[in-house]
């Protein structure tokens, strides 16, 4: 059932209005904080109000502008889009609280919070995009809006990282545009409301070109190797930015784009016939292992987190490329699972840096004794990444393995086990250091970071447990993921 509902335009519009208000009148700190938090809560409420309908299979749609003629800037919230929007808007509330605490003593806060709001606005736009062009529009806007956040400190290092980021993502954006033009030429439409729009009788070289252009384009933000180079350097940004954008919004926009390409542009059937997805799966499998190995070699905590992100994102890519319903479920669910666990870790890294100034793994010895709550949250997230049952990460690994078996590709189950071991190998040493070693060289006055930093961290960690424990409870995000899978695969294979 499809309904016209302006609420799905309202959701991105709230953040846009918030950003404009901040730019025009955000000089006062308390007023700015009220604005940012108010908009975050309001947006979350709007998206939440769409959830009941979405769970029952209602699809909301709204067309904004007829640009370019016949295609239009149009929004449409199906279950997959709702899932992504819900995850990002939930995390935005947490990150806004965190950012208010973290940025207290920094300069240029007006610009920071303004662009921060713009970013979430474009992210929800990506989630709700009805056609490829609207998706691309929001995707490019996201690139532009994250740039000022990334170079926030204006150091030469930050500017260098920013340049690298732009080169990668804009080149990716151009590739996507190339692919979009080809799709329009081949299919005559760009709509994402069907399970596949490309005609099966199109010339093979053209289809291959479309696949390569779109996958490589979105693959840049999804940090699929060898296109991941920008992500570790982007860690120079302030921690809330790294947390929201480089573990959640930006990279997930890339992954989400890939899901759309696989499920809605090509469609599972056409892709299975063409056989391109096997290559993508192989690339993703390589990225999972290589990303983990590189993470192990990092001593800087944020860089280790970045490489872990590279590895984790490819879970989603791999799951999507398997083309089976159960794997699709894993792909969609992992958007949330990875987001909450990774944002917990970033929050912890930021809090530790704020409280002690330490940024390296080897300096974390004994940290659990002085900041028990913070390091407790970190432990929860680590266990989730390793895939211990009852934590969110296990759900992904379980369904991904089932999906791999469905696709008769047992070696991916093996890969899951290897990856779990690798994750254990680079997260558990930190946990061990933090809890079982004596603190060294810490001044006696070091305590937990302030409440504004601690509360979002704990909330995100609690969510990681919640996602893992209540997977099968109706009304939780997982049921939305099931609804999405029913839609994209057109089958009742939701598990």
């Amino acid at each position: 059932m499809e309904v016209i509902d302006s609420r799905i335009v309202l959701a991105p519009a709230i953040s846009l209005a918030c950003a404009l208000l901040i730019f025009l009148s955000g000089g006062h700190a308390a007023w700015r904080a009220t604005l940012a938090l108010g908009a975050a809560a309001l947006k979350f409420a709007v998206i939440l109000s769409l959830l009941p309908g979405s769970l029952q299979g209602t699809v909301y749609a709204y067309t904004l502008f007829d640009f370019p003629p016949g295609i239009g800037i149009a929004f449409r919230a199906d279950a997959l889009g709702m899932f992504f929007a819900l995850v990002s808007s939930t995390l935005w509330v947490l990150t806004t609280v965190y950012a208010i605490g973290y940025m207290k003593d920094r300069r240029q806060k007006l610009r920071f919070f303004g662009f921060f709001s713009l970013c979430i606005s474009t992210t929800v736009g990506i989630a709700f995009a009805e056609n490829l062009l609207t998706l691309l529009l929001c995707y490019e806007a996201l690139t532009v809006c994250t740039y000022p956040l990334l170079v926030h400190d204006e150091t030469p290092e930050a500017l260098r990282a920013g340049r690298k980021y732009l080169v990668y993502t804009l080149a990716g954006g151009a590739l996507i545009l190339f692919g979009v033009v080809m799709v329009q030429h081949l299919a005559g439409t760009l709509s994402l409301s069907h399970a596949g729009i490309l005609p099966a009788d199109a010339p093979r070289p053209m289809l291959l070109a479309v696949f390569c252009a779109l996958v490589a384009g979105f693959g840049v933000k999804a940090a699929v190797m060898p296109l991941h180079g920008w992500l570790p350097s982007a860690m120079v940004a302030p921690t809330p930015v790294s947390a929201l954008l480089h573990a959640v919004a930006v990279v997930k926009a890339g992954v989400f784009g890939l899901l759309r390409v696989i499920y809605n542009v090509f469609g599972v059937e056409l892709l299975a016939m063409l056989g391109y997805a096997a290559w993508l799966a192989a690339l993703a499998a390589f990225t999972i292992v290589a990303g983990s190995l590189m993470a192990m070699a990092q001593d800087n905590l944020k860089r280790r987190l970045a490489y872990s992100t590279v590895s984790q994102l490819s879970y989603i890519v791999l799951a999507a490329a398997l083309l089976t319903p159960l794997a699709a479920l894993a792909a969609i669910a992992h958007i949330a699972n990875q987001a909450f666990a990774k944002i917990t870790m970033f929050f912890v890294a930021g809090a530790v840096e704020q409280a002690t100034g330490r940024r390296h793994v080897h300096e974390l010895a004994g940290m659990g004794r002085v900041m028990p709550w913070t390091m407790g949250a970190f432990t929860v997230a680590s266990l989730s990444f390793i895939g211990v049952p009852l934590f969110a990460g296990f759900v992904t690994k379980w369904y991904l393995s089932l999906g791999a078996l469905q696709a008769e590709a047992w070696w991916f189950v093996l890969l899951m086990i290897v990856s779990a071991l690798l994750n254990a190998a680079y997260w558990l040493p930190i946990v061990y250091l933090a809890w079982f070693r004596a603190p060294r060289g810490l001044p006696a006055r070091v305590r937990e970071a302030g409440w504004l930093l601690l509360a979002p961290t704990l909330a995100a960690a609690a969510y990681v447990v919640l996602l893992g424990v209540t997977t099968r409870v109706p009304g939780m995000p997982f049921s939305l993921a099931e609804a999405a899978v029913n839609f994209v695969s057109g089958t009742r294979g939701g598990g």
Partner: protein, 491 residues
């Protein structure tokens, strides 16, 4: 009622002739007269465009002498560009108030406004001319006033640039005039629709091809298509900023509209190598896109950067013309209009910044974004738009031209187009970086203020058009659709 058409072109010309006389006694009245005349032109062209939307193309026979013997003014989709021309010129004239007072000697001020009005009248006339000879006459009006406008600020560099421009312009004029002569000798007519009919009966193909080549080469030189762009960067960078906006946004389009007009004349003639001609145009366009963008990338002077970006954008339009199918021609037609708006925004906004700070290299302009937020915002919008980020105006043209490249079975051109967009973005990123994210090099930057309101308002108006032109892109597409239909159908 039908007299609106000749009056649209004549009023600014007559006013242009009178302004120096008025300004001799009362220099302060010169700008007012110019504003009134160009405001009138906006009104007139708006009425004409409205009529075009409702009734389709229409003509006016000067003095009641019917075509093909009399002088015919014809208002069709390409003539609708005159509305944009008049609007941008109005913005430039408003903007000129504070700018020209500082940049131009007081005794030259009336001449400055007079030249701008002549330029406006020439362009409107050019867009509406129905016969080849008037096309030439109006082109000369535009060209001669442009040469003078480049030099109006004074100084040796400007004079030299103007002279260089004059040389190139003279060659172009000779080529066009020669070809018009050839066509007249072949057909005995000058009216474009009539010439198109009679050409079909002409036996020998040699002279026809010669005329086609001469007209195309002449107009390409006027449009500064790479590799005959050499006059453009100096002229556009040396002129005062409002003049640069007119030259870069509008005057080069005279060459493009000329190409469109003459293409239509030859489109119906059998036995001409039009396909090969189109291929040559497409390749030249592709070359211009990349070359212009690369040159722009290595400039330190912000105005030179913008000038080379014009070279690149002309490449887009010519590529669209060369591909010559429906989508590509739509793209080219829209980009003629949109690039005019975008480039005018950029030059005027950059002009405001140069006016307030007195410096024009990227290095010296570091940190200006904080001191002049509105002007810098306009530059940013213009930059995103010229790079073709959706949903700005610059995106539409590129989208259609890329679609056209696929429809023509030449995806390579679409790749070039995107590469060009990336390069363009790369050099605008340099500008934005300098404006917003680099610390100022000299302390004077901290005492800079935002531009005065008469400069700021036109800039912001045009910047808003850059976005609205994209979001409401349906209208320009609908406007050029019939004309495109005829060109694509015939060729």
């Amino acid at each position: 009622m039908s007299a609106w058409l000749p009056l649209a072109a004549c009023v600014p010309l007559v006013a242009g002739a009178l302004v120096p006389a008025v300004g001799r006694r009362r220099p302060q009245l010169a700008q007012g007269c110019a504003l009134a005349a160009s405001g009138w032109t906006v009104l007139a062209t708006a009425r004409l465009t409205r009529r075009l939307f409702m009734e389709g193309p229409f003509s006016y026979a000067m003095g009641g002498w019917a075509a093909p013997w009399g002088i015919e003014l014809r208002f069709d989709a390409w003539s609708a560009a005159s509305l944009f021309i008049a609007l941008i010129m109005l913005a430039v004239l408003v903007y000129s108030g504070p700018y020209a007072r500082a940049a131009i000697e007081p005794r030259r001020l009336p001449w400055y406004y007079s030249l701008l009005l002549l330029n406006l009248g020439g362009m409107v006339g050019f867009a509406c001319a129905g016969d080849l000879f008037n096309l030439f006459v109006f082109m000369e009006l535009v060209s001669v006033s442009s040469y003078a406008l480049v030099a109006v600020g004074g100084g040796r560099i400007a004079a030299l640039a103007a002279f260089k421009y004059l040389l190139a312009g003279a060659v172009s004029s000779v080529l066009v005039l020669f070809s018009v002569g050839v066509l007249h000798a072949l057909t005995g007519s000058l009216n474009m629709a009539d010439v198109a009919l009679r050409l079909a009966a002409v036996e020998s193909r040699g002279p026809v091809v010669l005329a086609l080549a001469g007209l195309s080469a002449g107009f390409m030189l006027k449009a500064a298509l790479f590799p005959v762009h050499l006059w453009l960067p100096d002229a556009h960078a040396a002129a005062p900023c409002p003049v640069s906006a007119v030259l870069s946004g509008l005057v080069v389009k005279v060459g493009i509209i000329g190409l469109l007009r003459t293409n239509a004349v030859f489109a119906g003639v059998d036995g001409l190598p039009m396909a090969a001609f189109g291929q040559v145009l497409a390749w030249l366009g592709a070359l211009a896109i990349v070359a212009g963008a690369l040159f722009a990338l290595f400039q330190q002077d912000i105005k030179l950067m913008l000038a080379y970006s014009t070279v690149s954008n002309i490449g887009y339009i010519v590529l669209g013309l060369g591909l010559a199918n429906h989508a590509a021609l739509t793209g080219a037609g829209i980009h003629v209009l949109n690039h005019a708006i975008i480039k005018a925004t950029l030059f005027l906004a950059v002009g405001a910044i140069i006016h307030q700070t007195g410096s024009r290299t990227l290095r010296e302009l570091r940190g200006v974004g904080r001191m002049m937020p509105w002007s810098a915002l306009a530059v940013s919008i213009g930059a995103l738009s010229v790079a073709g980020l959706p949903p700005t105006a610059g995106f539409l043209g590129k989208w259609y031209i890329a679609l056209g490249a696929f429809a023509a079975g030449q995806p390579g051109f679409a790749a070039v187009l995107l590469l060009g967009a990336l390069l363009i973005f790369a050099y605008y990123i340099r500008i934005l970086n300098a404006f917003y994210f680099r610390a100022p090099v000299d302390d004077n930057m901290r005492s800079v203020h935002e531009a005065p309101l008469p400069m700021l308002l036109p800039v912001l108006f045009l910047a808003a058009l850059c976005i609205l032109g994209g979001l409401f892109g349906r209208w320009p597409v609908a406007l050029v659709a019939p004309a495109v239909e005829r060109l694509a159908g015939g060729g």
